[in-house]
C-alpha cells in the first residue's frame, strides 16, 4: 500500500502542502506587516476600529471561509471555457488549478494573518520609542525607519507568527478538501479512513512531522506563541503620528482589504445565506450542538489552563531536568496536526483501556477532551510560563521567606498576578477548540455533533444555505472570545490594581 501511495499521490500531497504553505506565508506577510505597522504608529481614519478589528478573522474557521469562497472559481468559468477552446486542455487545467489554489491561499491568509498581526503589533508596541525617535532624529524618513529599525527588530515576532500560521495551514483539513487541493493531512485521512491502512497513515504522519520539526526548531529559537498572549505591563504611551489625507486613505485600504477577505466578506455572505434559508422557511437553530460545542470548548479550556498552571509552577519550584524535559515534550502537541493527534489518542486509549475502564472509552466525550488537551497544551504552557517569569520575578521567593508554603504562595501571589494571562489563555484555547475540525471528526462519539462538524457536514452535502446558521454561531461565539482576548492583549499603561 505504501509503495502504491508513493507512486501515485504522495508527490502531489507533498507539493500541494509546500505550495500552499509558501503562498499563505507570503500573503500573510503582505496583509499583516503593513497593517500592524500603521495601526501601531500612525493615526488615520478607522485606526481605533482596526486596532482590535484586525483580529476578528481569527473567529472564522478556514472551512467556513472555504464554503464562501468556493463559488469564486465558478465565476471564472467563462474565462476557462475561452482558454480551453483557444489554448487547449493543458492550458485550461493549469489556469483552473492556479485560480483554485490562488483563491485557497488568499482566503486562508485572510483568516490566518491575525496570528502574525498580533505578534507583530505586540512587538511594535513594546519597541522602545527612543529607538524609533533616534532614527528619526538621525534624518530617516518613517518608511526608512520601518525597514532599517522596526522590521529587523521584529524578526523574532515575524518568524514566530509565520510558523504559527504554517502549522495551521499544514493542519487544515476542511478548506483544502473543499477547494480540491489535497495536502498531507488529507492524505492521512484518506489513507486511514478510505483505504483502512493505519500503517501507511502513520508513515505519512511521520513524514509530515519531519517537516514540522524544522518549523518547530525555527519557532523554538525565536520564541513562540508567548509573544502575543503576553499582556505588556507598562510601556510608554505610544504617540501616533497623524498621516496626511491621501496617506491616511492608503493606510485605511491596507487595513480594510485583509479584514474584508478574512471577516467581512464571509460574514456578509453567510448572513445572506441565512436570510435565504429564513425566507425558504428552512432555517434551524442547532441549539443542542451549540451546547455541545460550548461545553467541550469551555470545559477543556478551563481544565487545560489549570493543568498548565500546575505544570509551570511545578517546573518553577523544581527547575530540574526530569521535570522540564517531559513538560517540553508535552508542548510538542501543538505542532502535531489534529489528525495525527487523533490517531495517537485512539491508539493510546485502545492500549490502556483495561486500565482506565470505561471512563476514557474510545469515542466518548472524555476522549475528545483528552485529545484537545494533548494538542493545545502548548497554547497554555508557553504564555503562562512567560507570564510567571515576567510578572512574578522574585515575588514568590519573597512570599516563601515571609512564611507561606508553596501552595499558599501560588494562591495568594502568583495566580492573582497572572490573572490576565490566565483569562487570555482560556479564551485562546476556547476559540481554538471551537473551530477545531479534524480531531473532533475522528474522536467524537457516534451521533455527537458540534457546530464545527455540523456545518462541515451540511456543506459537504452541498446544503450550503443551511450551513450558514451553525457557521455564524461559531463565528459569533469565537468572535466573543477573540474580542475578549484582544481586550486583554491591548497593552495598558495603568498599573495592576486588584
Amino acid at each position: 500500500m505504501w509503495n502504491h501511495l508513493r507512486e501515485t499521490v504522495l508527490t502531489s500531497y507533498f507539493l500541494n502542502t509546500l505550495w500552499l504553505s509558501t503562498a499563505v506565508a507570503l500573503l500573510s506577510i503582505l496583509m499583516a506587516v503593513p497593517s500592524a505597522w500603521f495601526v501601531s504608529h500612525f493615526d488615520f481614519p478607522g485606526r481605533r476600529f482596526f486596532e482590535w478589528g484586525m483580529v476578528l478573522p481569527l473567529a472564522v474557521p478556514t472551512y467556513v471561509a472555504a464554503f464562501v469562497y468556493r463559488q469564486v472559481p465558478e465565476s471564472a468559468i467563462p474565462l476557462l471555457i475561452h482558454i480551453r477552446s483557444t489554448y487547449g486542455v493543458d492550458a485550461y487545467l493549469f489556469t483552473e488549478g492556479f485560480i483554485r489554489k490562488g483563491i485557497l491561499a488568499l482566503f486562508m491568509a485572510g483568516v490566518l494573518f491575525p496570528y502574525l498581526y498580533l505578534s507583530l503589533r505586540a512587538t511594535f508596541l513594546v519597541q522602545r520609542r527612543g529607538l524609533i525617535e533616534a532614527a528619526q532624529l538621525l534624518g530617516r524618513s518613517p518608511s526608512s525607519v520601518f525597514f532599517t529599525i522596526a522590521l529587523p527588530l521584529a524578526r523574532p515576532a515575524l518568524i514566530a507568527g509565520i510558523s504559527l500560521i504554517l502549522m495551521e495551514v499544514i493542519n487544515d483539513y476542511g478548506a483544502v478538501i473543499f477547494m480540491g487541493v489535497p495536502t498531507l493531512t488529507v492524505g492521512i485521512f484518506r489513507t486511514w479512513t478510505g483505504l483502512g491502512d493505519l500503517t501507511s497513515a502513520v508513515r505519512l504522519a511521520g513524514l509530515m512531522m519531519l517537516g514540522i520539526f524544522v518549523l518547530l526548531w525555527l519557532e523554538h529559537h525565536q520564541r513562540g506563541r508567548a509573544n502575543f498572549a503576553e499582556t505588556s505591563a507598562s510601556t510608554a504611551p505610544h504617540l501616533h503620528r497623524k498621516l496626511s489625507r491621501a496617506k491616511g486613505i492608503g493606510a485605511f485600504i491596507l487595513c480594510l482589504v485583509p479584514i474584508s477577505i478574512g471577516f467581512i466578506i464571509p460574514l456578509v455572505q453567510l448572513l445572506n445565506w441565512a436570510w435565504i434559508s429564513l425566507l425558504q422557511k428552512r432555517i434551524q437553530f442547532p441549539w443542542e450542538r451549540m451546547v455541545h460545542s460550548l461545553t467541550l470548548a469551555l470545559g477543556t479550556a478551563v481544565i487545560l489552563t489549570l493543568l498548565s498552571v500546575i505544570l509551570v509552577y511545578a517546573e518553577r519550584l523544581h527547575p530540574v531536568r526530569w521535570l522540564r524535559q517531559p513538560i517540553r515534550l508535552a508542548s510538542l502537541g501543538y505542532a502535531v496536526p489534529g489528525a495525527v493527534v487523533a490517531v495517537g489518542v485512539m491508539t493510546f486509549l485502545g492500549k490502556t483501556q483495561h486500565l482506565t475502564g470505561n471512563v476514557f472509552l474510545i469515542g466518548s466525550i472524555y476522549a475528545i477532551g483528552f485529545g484537545y488537551i494533548v494538542r493545545f497544551l502548548a497554547v497554555g504552557l508557553q504564555p503562562i510560563r512567560a507570564g510567571m517569569e515576567r510578572v512574578c520575578g522574585s515575588l514568590d521567593a519573597a512570599s516563601r521567606i515571609l512564611g507561606h508554603s508553596p501552595a499558599q504562595t501560588l494562591w495568594h501571589i502568583n495566580l492573582p498576578l497572572i490573572r490576565g494571562t490566565l483569562l487570555a489563555v482560556t479564551m485562546l484555547v476556547f476559540v481554538d477548540i471551537l473551530k477545531e475540525l479534524p480531531m473532533t471528526m475522528i474522536l467524537r462519539p457516534v451521533d455527537f455533533d458540534t457546530l464545527a462538524t455540523l456545518s462541515f457536514g451540511l456543506a459537504q452535502e452541498s446544503r450550503i444555505h443551511e450551513c450558514a446558521v451553525p457557521s455564524l454561531m461559531i463565528i459569533f461565539l469565537a468572535g466573543l472570545g477573540v474580542f475578549g482576548l484582544n481586550r486583554m492583549l491591548l497593552p495598558s499603561t495603568s498599573h495592576p490594581k486588584p
Binding site: G393, S394, L395, A397, A398, S399, R400, I401, L402, G403, H404, S405, H412, I413, P416, L417, H495, P496, K497, P498
Partner: protein
C-alpha cells in the same frame, strides 16, 4: 557574644566544571551585629544570601541558626520555616496588595488587632504612618524600599538579609535611606547581613565588613580595619586607591607629603600632580624602594608641590 548564624564549609556550584559560586566558606554572625558583604560582581554575594535564606541548597557544608541546624547533610528547613527575612534588590513588593497587606502578609499567626498595631509601629518607625491603604506603585522609590525593609522585619526574623537594598536609587536618596536603615536596624536590634557592591554603603552601615572574592571571605573586620589595614591587594583596591608598601597596603590619605625630612619618612620625587578639586592628587616615586613603584597621595595644595621637585612621605598612624 553568641553567634546567631553560623556557616561551616558551605559550597555551592551552579554548573559542573565551572568554579563554585560559594567555595568552602565559613562565617559567624554574632547577635545584633550588622555585617556588610562586599565584593565584585560574581564574587558570590547574592548566592551566599540565597543559601542562608533557603532559596538555594548548599552542595556541601552546614548552616546553623541559633545553634539549630537548618541546612546540611540530611537536614533541610524550607525558607518559609526559617525565620530569616530578606529585603530584595527590587523590593519584590506585591503589586496587587496595599502597604498594609504587604506587611501583614508575613504576620499570618497574629490576630487582626495585633497586626494593625504592628503595622502602625513599623510604619511609624520609617516615617510612613498613614500610608496603610496605598499601593506600591503609589510610593516613591525610597518609600518602596523602606516598605520592603519593614515588611521583612514584621515577622521579627532572627536574621535579616538585605540584597543590594539601595542599588536602584539615586545618590541623594541613597545617602538618606542608608542612615535611616542603619538607625532602624539598630533600634530593633536585628542581626543583619547586607550585600552591596557599593563600598561606601558597606562602610557606613556595617558593624563588620566582610570582603568576598571567588566565593571565599578574603578579609573580615571593622570598617576601620578593612579600610585602613587591608590584608591583600584585592581588599585594598575594592575601597579605592591603595599603595603597596612592602607587604602592606596604605591608603593615599594615610600618607603625608612633607617638604623637609623627619624620622621614618621616605625620600620621594614628584612625578605627576593633578587637581582633583577637593585636594591635589600627587604621584610620587619613592627613591628608597626597589623595584621601583609609584605611590599616590592626597594633599591640600601646599606651595612646594611641583612636578620634578623632591620631598618626603610619612605614614600616618591609622595605617599601622
Amino acid at each position: 557574644m553568641t553567634s546567631v548564624l553560623q556557616l561551616k564549609d558551605i559550597s555551592r556550584c551552579y554548573t559542573q566544571g565551572s568554579p563554585p559560586a560559594v567555595n568552602a566558606l565559613d562565617l559567624e554572625v554574632p547577635k545584633g551585629e550588622i555585617l556588610a558583604l562586599v565584593g565584585e560582581s560574581g564574587s558570590g554575594k547574592t548566592t551566599l544570601l540565597r543559601l542562608i535564606c533557603g532559596l538555594e541548597k548548599p552542595d556541601t557544608g552546614t548552616l546553623f541558626l541559633n545553634g539549630k541546624q537548618i541546612a546540611g547533610e540530611r537536614s533541610w528547613v524550607p525558607p518559609e520555616k526559617r525565620k530569616i527575612g530578606l529585603v530584595f534588590q527590587d523590593g519584590a513588593l506585591f503589586p496587587h496588595l496595599t502597604v498594609e497587606e504587604n506587611i501583614s502578609y508575613g504576620l499570618q499567626k497574629q490576630c487582626r488587632k495585633q497586626k494593625c498595631q504592628r503595622i502602625e509601629t513599623l510604619l511609624c518607625l520609617v516615617g510612613m504612618d498613614g500610608f496603610q491603604k496605598r499601593y506600591p506603585h503609589e510610593l516613591s522609590g525610597g518609600e518602596r524600599q523602606r516598605l520592603a525593609v519593614v515588611r521583612a522585619l514584621a515577622p521579627e526574623p532572627e536574621v535579616l538579609l538585605l540584597d543590594e537594598p539601595f542599588s536602584n536609587l539615586d545618590p541623594a536618596l541613597r545617602r538618606g535611606l542608608r542612615s535611616d536603615i542603619h538607625r532602624i536596624l539598630k533600634e530593633v536590634r536585628t542581626t543583619a547581613i547586607m550585600v552591596t557592591h557599593d563600598t561606601e554603603d558597606a562602610l557606613h552601615v556595617g558593624d563588620k565588613v566582610a570582603i568576598l572574592q571567588k566565593g571565599k571571605i578574603e578579609q573580615i573586620g571593622t570598617p576601620h580595619e578593612v579600610y585602613h589595614q587591608p590584608t591583600s591587594g584585592y581588599s585594598a583596591r575594592i575601597f579605592g586607591e591603595a599603595n603597596q608598601v612592602g607587604q602592606r597596603w596604605v591608603r593615599p590619605e594615610d600618607m603625608e607629603f612633607l617638604s623637609a625630612y623627619v624620622p621614618e619618612s621616605h625620600p620621594v620625587m614628584i612625578e605627576e600632580v593633578h587637581d582633583a578639586g577637593r585636594h591635589l592628587e600627587v604621584r610620587v616615586r619613592p627613591q628608597d624602594v626597589t623595584p621601583s613603584v609609584t605611590w599616590i597621595l592626597y594633599d591640600a595644595s601646599q606651595p612646594g608641590i611641583k612636578v620634578g621637585s623632591p620631598g618626603w612621605v610619612r605614614f600616618k598612624e591609622k595605617s599601622l
